[in-house]
């Protein structure tokens, strides 16, 4: 299979003055090996002493950089052209002491960037990586030079951060604005019981630094917003999204597209998880897959719908795996693919994704060129405007009225298994899904307080009842049974 290798001008003197050399090979690596066997003097200009391609040598098969395909294993066929294209790099000797900081802020795949060395302690620590040729010394140094920003230190961020820290990713950025709550501990294994009440970034930093003292951890105790996202993202090589809400997911996606960063995506709900790598340079972005967010309230959050504790462990570990592969320049990164996982049935499925040429942010004629208001985009800010007609009561007021002996019926629209965990005395259970069918069980002559866990489902129940013509006086319990436990009766467990 003759394949043509085009020799760049400065190297022609080492190839007998030829501008093109024909070889027969099935991969780009084989082709270069043949070329440098015939013309041995070429080898030192293309390969380092470790026999890997020099990092300022770029090899293209036809128009594709092999680093973006399958490295030296990229297959070539009859009639293909291999181009050797140099990156030209250099610089002065002054300020050499800044080199470490400089490389850390640089994408590892950039040509011409010196990688940091490993200390003996680090060599001992990473030995299981070092003995695999796929990682090796160079790969481990790439990990050390790399930086990853993890959005969220929750269910996904916990395993993700711990594995990235253990793997020796040199600089980890941790973003979270929340504090550790007891209900987090069922899955967020980066935090412990002693951390309840602490800011998540502090708790996460302690745990990560304990796993690996050789890495740098930068904490950002803030929400990611349209104002700070770009500034935050440009300082990292890879962004990993461990958030659980749509506005942040779209914000992270758009900011990654605008800054050219790969976005390692994961999401979880109940027993099902998804993962992919959205990287506009090489494939689709999140908007190519989901151009519009679902209407607010349609997809419940984990706080409302629950999540199996192990599930984020599995999905977060997959995200860590892909982030490490991106840094190493591994083949078969999960670009163009969406992984679907069902923990209850223990099934993995994979969907093919395609870049949408009309995508508003990464398509050929993008209309989104800066970050927008994502709360509004996801319809979150309009929501309160549709609600003012609904009457609300606080848990404290409700207790006062009950104590006064007011005739009030209490309808609980949660699920039976939630009712088993905690209930308000003398409440009647009618799950949200059955509310309309069982409307006749609610006495329309009496005043009715409707409640759920946090107040969202009960508001939906009231809306549905009113739309269906229910005439009775309906009042929503603000904050649900959680508020009841907080304000009135702490003996009611919070879940």
């Amino acid at each position: 299979m003759p394949v043509t290798i085009v020799i760049p001008t400065p190297l022609r003197q080492f190839a007998g003055g030829q501008s093109e050399v024909e070889v027969s090979a099935s991969t780009a690596g084989e082709a270069l090996d043949q070329l440098t066997t015939t013309h041995a003097e070429l080898r030192r200009h293309l390969f380092s002493d470790q026999n890997t391609l020099r990092n300022f040598v770029n090899v293209y098969v036809n128009d594709e950089d092999i680093r973006h395909v399958n490295g030296p294993g990229t297959s070539v066929k009859d009639g293909d052209t291999i181009l050797i294209v140099p990156s030209i790099a250099g610089g002065s000797t002054v300020l050499e002491n800044e080199t470490a900081a400089e490389t850390a802020a640089t994408r590892p795949q950039d040509a011409g960037v010196p990688l940091p060395m490993l200390s003996n302690e680090e060599v001992a620590r990473y030995s299981r990586h070092l003995i695999m040729p796929e990682v090796g010394m160079t790969g481990q140094r790439k990990l050390k030079a790399a930086s990853v920003l993890m959005i969220g230190t929750g269910g996904l961020g916990a395993p993700l951060g711990m594995y990235l820290a253990a793997a020796g990713v040199g600089r980890l950025g941790v973003v979270d604005f929340d504090v550790v709550d007891a209900s987090n501990l069922q899955r967020q294994i980066i935090h412990g019981t002693k951390d309840v009440g602490r800011p998540k970034v502090s708790s996460a930093k302690d745990r990560l630094q304990d796993i690996n003292p050789h890495i740098e951890i930068e904490t950002h105790e803030t929400k990611v917003t349209s104002d700070n996202a770009l500034r935050l993202f440009v300082n990292y090589d890879v962004i990993v999204d461990g958030t659980d809400n749509f506005p942040t997911r779209y914000l992270v996606n758009d900011a990654c597209v605008l800054t050219g960063k790969p976005n390692v995506y994961g999401s979880i709900f109940r027993f099902e998880g998804q993962a992919s790598v959205f990287w506009a340079e090489r494939g689709p972005c999140y908007r190519c897959l989901y151009p519009e967010p679902p209407p607010p309230g349609l997809v419940p959050s984990c706080a409302e719908g629950g999540v199996l504790g192990v599930l984020p462990g599995i999905i977060g570990a997959i995200q860590a795996n892909e982030a490490i592969k991106i840094i190493l320049g591994a083949p078969d990164i999960m670009v163009n693919r969406l992984l679907l996982f069902d923990a209850w049935r223990m099934r993995f499925r994979e969907l093919k994704l395609r870049k949408n040429p009309d995508c508003p942010v990464c398509g050929t004629n993008p209309t989104i060129k800066e970050l927008i208001d994502y709360e509004q985009f996801c319809g979150i800010t309009q929501q309160p405007e549709t609600k003012p007609t609904m009457e609300e009561i606080t848990a404290t007021e409700m207790k006062q009225r009950l104590d006064k002996g007011d005739d009030i019926q209490i309808i609980d629209v949660r699920e039976p298994h939630e009712y088993e965990i905690a209930k308000i005395p003398d409440s009647k259970l009618i799950p949200l899904g059955q509310v309309l069918n069982r409307m006749n069980e609610i006495d329309s002559e009496r005043e009715t307080i409707v409640h759920c866990k946090g107040g969202v489902r009960s508001a939906k129940a009231i809306e549905a009842l009113q739309r269906s013509g229910f005439q009775g006086h309906l009042i929503n319990l603000k904050g649900g049974i959680t508020a009841w436990s907080n304000e009135v009766d702490p003996s009611v467990p919070k879940y």
């Binding site: 400065p10 950089d65 294209v85 030209i88 250099g90 000797t93 800044e98 040509a111 010196p114």
Partner: protein, 143 residues
Amino acid sequence: MIVLNENHLTEMHAHGERDYPYECCGLMLGRFADGRKQVVETYAISNAREEAAKRNRFLIRPEELMRGEKYAREKELDVVGFYHSHPDDVAVPSQYDLEHAWPTYSYIVMSVEKGRAVDLRSWEMEADRSRFNEEKIVSEARP
């Protein structure tokens, strides 16, 4: 030996001073003839290194080099070398320059002290990659 004219020198000086305190970089387009390089045109490139490293590093991405080569081919020229500046440092290639150099090309290094281009020297790498040899610059009068 590299042959260029005063215009090319003026352009490179101006580029180095404009980009100070960052490193500037660019291509030299021309012809290889009788073992010497004749520069016909300079071609400025924007330094692709990130903000923090621009003071002492430059990078020309392969896509940009390919674009430069395409432009050169259209004018029936070759890329004969590269120029870059060393802000507040001597016009001598660094070890880093050597590690990243290609044979045959001319590497012009320009010293820019406190915003003023004060020295400019040309270098070519030894074929065994062991060192740079200084190369004679012949400056012709303006055409």
